[in-house]
Amino acid sequence: MARDPSVRSGADLFEVRFESIGGLGAHVAGKIVAGAAVLRMNMNGSHFSSYGSEKKGSVVRSFIRLAPADSAIRTSAPIEEPDVVVVFHAGLLAHPATLSGLRAGGTLIFAGNEGDLPEGLERAPGTAKVFRVDAQKIAFEEKSRENAVLIGALAEAVPELDRQSVLDALTATFAGKSDAVVDSNTRAFNRGADELEAVAGIGRQDGDVPTMQSHPAWGYRSAPIGGVLPTPGNTAHNDLHTSRTGWMPILERDKCIDCGMCDMVCPDLCLVWSTHVDADGNPGVKLDGIDYQYCKGCMRCVETCSTGAMIREAEEPGKADELRVPLFPGLATAAGGKHA
């Protein structure tokens, strides 16, 4: 269904959409920015978020609508044609929905490593302003979070927002916390604003990015009646690796005694075992490894391991793919991935 520009919600609206993953603080960031606009910059505004069904690690969108003080904001619908998109995790750019509807004259800010031009940036309008900020690095160095860095970047990149007002709103959310907490978030915010880097000539889209329409897997003609799922265990197709926040458990095979204790405590049911018969004819089991498609990185296996065979390591790009032992080797993971 094509969207008719004639019905765009209130022409004087300024609309921002955050694209994020649960746990990165997009909802709180949106609340801070919109609250700053309404309570500190004398604007009218609204803010809300949408969540997936998972508790952590799934796609989260947060929406900010701003208008002049005397202008009504009526609609409560999600923002379809944003003036600004802020992407909290570069990996999200691979999904076409992330930039859906971004206006030709709009602004895109994404969290990415220095020099990084992730796949999907080309979907941005050629006429849009595109900025990169290394939110993860800054947040780590300043003992803050990505969201503080990104709202600093947003407040700097967008003339509609007053940088100081947004910083004041951020600081106010840490009322009662130590000066050190306020300082680290202030530094993260300011570095986000100051280290914002314009990326030119990357967008290929002519005009506005078209709005994405998506359909559920089943409709009323195809779904079994009553909401019944005759598909036992099909969550096995889900990919939950984004739930890990920078750390992963690693099996050091030579230290493992195959005692089975880790299997008792693993919430993600992602340990892979095989059976064998030893030279004396006794049956045995062997822990072959971890299926990182499901591991959310809680480290309960590491904590419980009595021989030090499970260790906690920083997750480097590609490492999980390299070390992964698939639990269901024949399973096609592409279909029904969680972002499908």
């Binding site: 765009r8 919600s9 609204s46 809300f48 969550t235 095989s274 309960r300």
Partner: protein
């Protein structure tokens, strides 16, 4: 005169800007009104009202008595009782909570006891969906309550004040609902103006005056007599007249409120209706979305407008008739169907109103839209307008009734297929050998080593959406390691249900049923009896002794609050099944509200910590002892941190459930998110809870108690404070100013532990 939207006029009393969601606005109104009592039970998306009030209470901002009920039915009872006492009473609920309370609603209106109930509207089950539509509010149209519709957070704030006045009016004397859209309004922050002039608010509200109260010993009265014909119909005439009086009183109160606030509400919100030839009739937030489309269509020369009742009961029949008199075609959008009636309730009532006007020629179309939170975009409103414009132009309606925005599906698509079914033989590996000991009359269990269990095919698949570190899945995995044969599970609503069955995917590889947590135990008991009856009739294969299908009802500790009645009834009937409770000490699925299993002093989102309040105010429920008192074959406690102990008990549970009757087990289950610990802290925190005797591991087998882990006996007893110091939700109890709270905790834990040990030592207890 109806054609004015709410206008912001110069403010007669002092007000301040704020930036609040609908739930927060309702909570602010509650604070500013100063209700006496709130009885409530958490349900998304209304829970935030109680949560916000709990935070405010901890900070000393109000002194409303907040009573966490055992369920919405109990909450409605608390509110009814409190309101009989002559003070101001508040509640907030949604969806199934409203339906669970429904039985009480006509009692309250029929006996004419005012209060205010905020409803954050949400679709009703099943299947369970937490998002907005109006199917819940449609169920209460016949409850005899005044119903006000709040289209945005400002209205949620404002209409709470009006609700108090309308309900308490001497000619009305009815309870009042304020309904706003779940998530769309309840969770969307907007700029609002709130009062900053307590004296003016107080003057507006006045004092509640009750002709009768239950707290006036000098004038004893009987509330709720037994009344048959010929009297009941007369009582109902009075109720009808009260609702008709509300028709008159509501505009009066709205006018007074306009003078106070500068915000002018009408019984029907009419937008650009003066010369409208085509209109949409919509409730709440969708009407606001449609207004923007009306503006752009007006710019294109179309005479369109939007009609949206601010009052649903009494239904504003005259205003609707007047507004639509010259409208040629209207689309009425219903966020909820009245199945088989060819229109939702709003459509039916609009049609009925117009039918009474002999001169009316308006063409009416009904559209069901936005169910279960499906968004209503400008393009949707535009489609409705276009359909109405087409009907107005042609003078006829092609499709009188239709669902809007549904999707037929694509046969080539669909969710990914399931995994191969779990074969009974593959999971019946003898991991626990259960033998009755004729000397002790008890069961003995021999467990295989843990490593042998690792290759048991799992009845639960990975890929579920639980939080990192969640203790439920280790528990389930351990249980499944030792259970033999066919298993059917029923999960009551809770984290484990939500995270394993997000449509169109399921983590369950065996048959799984969900029912709401009032009723899981009863539901499963029905299935158990059907199984045995169909086996008896030869319709299902009979199994050798000890190989019948095992039925397990899985519940959180919250489900053992609201579902306690059904669970105890099931226990007393002694069906052959297991009730397995994972106790993570709160309603963790909905954001950590207190349950009765939450220990004393612990912080939750409805038992906040601040200068004026310090966590939960009463001790944790001793659920295993309650079930032990049902004289069941087997009751146990366990921890996912002690796999061998738990698996031994689980295998005994299966033995008893297949042969003798009902088993109840409670398993302490780690929740790092809401206990506020690291994701990998399970082992030390669970161990501390057990070693300090907060959570003793024991079993009650055929009436005899046996402590299976005694920290005193092996020198591992630790102070309660060591456990409390490990969790963010309890650290405050160790502060010097809460020394009394720590002492009370120690005393209660010590008292329960000593009693348990005495029972364990005595053969008859």
């Amino acid at each position: 005169m109806l054609d004015q939207a709410r206008a912001i006029s110069p403010q007669p009393v002092r007000q301040v800007h704020d930036f609040k969601s609908g739930n927060e606005a309702a909570a602010l109104a509650a604070r500013d009104i100063g209700f006496h009592v709130m009885g409530y039970f958490p349900i998304t998306p209304s829970t935030e009202v109680a949560e916000t009030l709990s935070k405010m209470q901890a900070d000393g901002e109000h002194d409303i008595v907040m009573i966490p009920a055992d369920g919405e039915h109990g909450a409605a009872g608390i509110c009814y009782g409190a309101a009989l006492g002559g003070g101001r009473v508040l509640n907030a609920t949604s969806s199934q909570g409203l339906l669970y309370a429904l039985e009480q609603l006509p009692v309250q209106s029929g006996t004419r006891v005012p209060m205010v109930l905020n409803i954050s509207t949400r679709t009703v089950s099943g299947p369970l969906d937490i998002r907005c539509d109006h199917s819940d509010i449609y169920f209460v149209l016949n409850a005899g309550w005044v119903i006000l519709m709040a289209r945005d957070p400002q209205a949620a704030y404002d209409l709470n004040f009006c609700a108090v006045r309308i309900g308490e009016h001497a000619d009305v004397r009815l309870p009042v609902i304020v309904a706003y859209d779940g998530f769309l309004t309840s969770h969307q922050k907007r700029r609002i103006d709130r009062f900053d002039d307590p004296d003016a608010v107080k003057a507006f509200l006045g004092e509640r005056e009750d002709p009768y109260t239950a707290l006036d010993p000098e004038h004893p009265v009987t509330f709720g007599p037994y009344m048959n014909d010929p009297d009941l119909i007369n009582n109902k005439v009075q109720q009808h007249e009260a609702m008709e009086a509300a028709r008159r009183v509501i505009p009066e109160v709205f006018a007074e409120f306009a003078a106070l606030s500068g915000r002018d509400y009408r019984t029907v919100d009419a937008y650009r209706m003066d010369d409208a030839e085509v209109a949409l009739v919509l409730l709440n937030s969708a009407a606001e979305n449609a207004k923007e489309v009306a503006d752009s269509l007006r710019e294109q020369g179309h005479k369109v407008g939007v009609v949206s009742p601010n009052v649903l009961r009494p239904f504003p029949t005259d205003e609707i008739r007047r507004l639509l008199r010259n409208v040629r075609a209207v689309v009425v959008g219903d966020r909820g169907d009245s199945y088989g009636a060819e229109g939702g309730n709003l459509s039916l009532e609009v049609r009925a109103a117009l039918q009474q006007d002999p001169d009316n020629k308006t063409l009416v179309m009904s559209r069901i839209y936005g169910l279960g939170g499906k968004d209503f975009y400008a393009t949707d409103a535009e489609e409705f307008f276009n359909e109405a414009l087409a009907a107005a132009a042609t003078g006829k309606v092609d499709v009188p009734f239709e669902y809007h925005g549904a999707y037929a599906g694509d046969d080539a698509a669909g969710p990914p297929p399931g995994l191969p079914p779990i074969q009974s033989e593959a999971v019946s590996r003898g991991m626990a050998k259960v033998t009755p000991n004729p000397d002790t009359n008890k069961l003995e269990v021999e467990l295989k080593p843990l490593w042998e269990m690792t290759t048991t095919p799992s009845r639960i698949a990975p890929g579920h959406g639980a939080c990192p570190g969640c203790g439920f899945f280790p528990m389930l995995r351990q249980a499944y390691n030792v259970l033999e044969g066919n298993v059917v599970v029923l999960f009551q609503t809770g984290c484990a249900m939500v995270t394993t069955t997000g449509y169109p995917k399921t983590a369950h590889r065996i048959t799984y049923i969900h029912n709401l947590f009032q009723n899981g135990a009863a539901t499963l008991s029905g299935l158990v009896e059907m199984y045995h009856e169909r086996v008896r009739r030869g319709e299902l294969p009979a199994a050798p002794e000890g190989e019948d299908t095992t039925f397990i009802m899985v519940t959180g500790d919250g489900g053992m609050d609201i579902g306690m009645g059904a669970a105890l009834g099931t226990a007393h009937r002694n069906h052959k099944m297991i009730i397995l409770e994972y106790d993570n000490q709160g309603y963790m699925n909905t954001g950590s509200q207190l349950s009765y299993a939450t220990p004393f002093g612990h912080r939750t989102s409805t038992s906040e910590v601040g200068d004026a309040m310090s966590g939960k105010r009463f001790h944790h429920k001793d659920t295993p002892q309650i079930f032990a008192a049902c004289n069941l074959p087997y009751v146990f406690t366990a921890s996912e941190g002690y796999p061998e102990d738990f698996m031994r008990k689980m295998s005994k549970a299966q033995w008893y459930a297949q042969r003798q009757g009902l088993v109840y087990g409670k398993v302490l289950s780690f929740c790092p998110l809401n206990w506020r610990t690291a994701d990998d802290a399970a082992q030390e925190v669970l161990q501390a809870a057990i070693d300090c005797c907060f959570f003793p591991l024991y079993e009650v087998e055929k009436g005899a108690t046996h402590v299976t882990y005694d920290p005193d006996a092996i020198g591992r007893r630790r102070p309660v404070g060591e456990w409390l110091g490990m969790m963010g939700k309890t650290k405050h109890i160790l502060a010097p100013e809460h020394a009394d709270q720590l002492e009370m905790t120690e005393q209660e834990i010590g008292r329960r532990w000593r009693r348990l040990k005495i029972k364990s030592e005595h053969p008859e207890l």
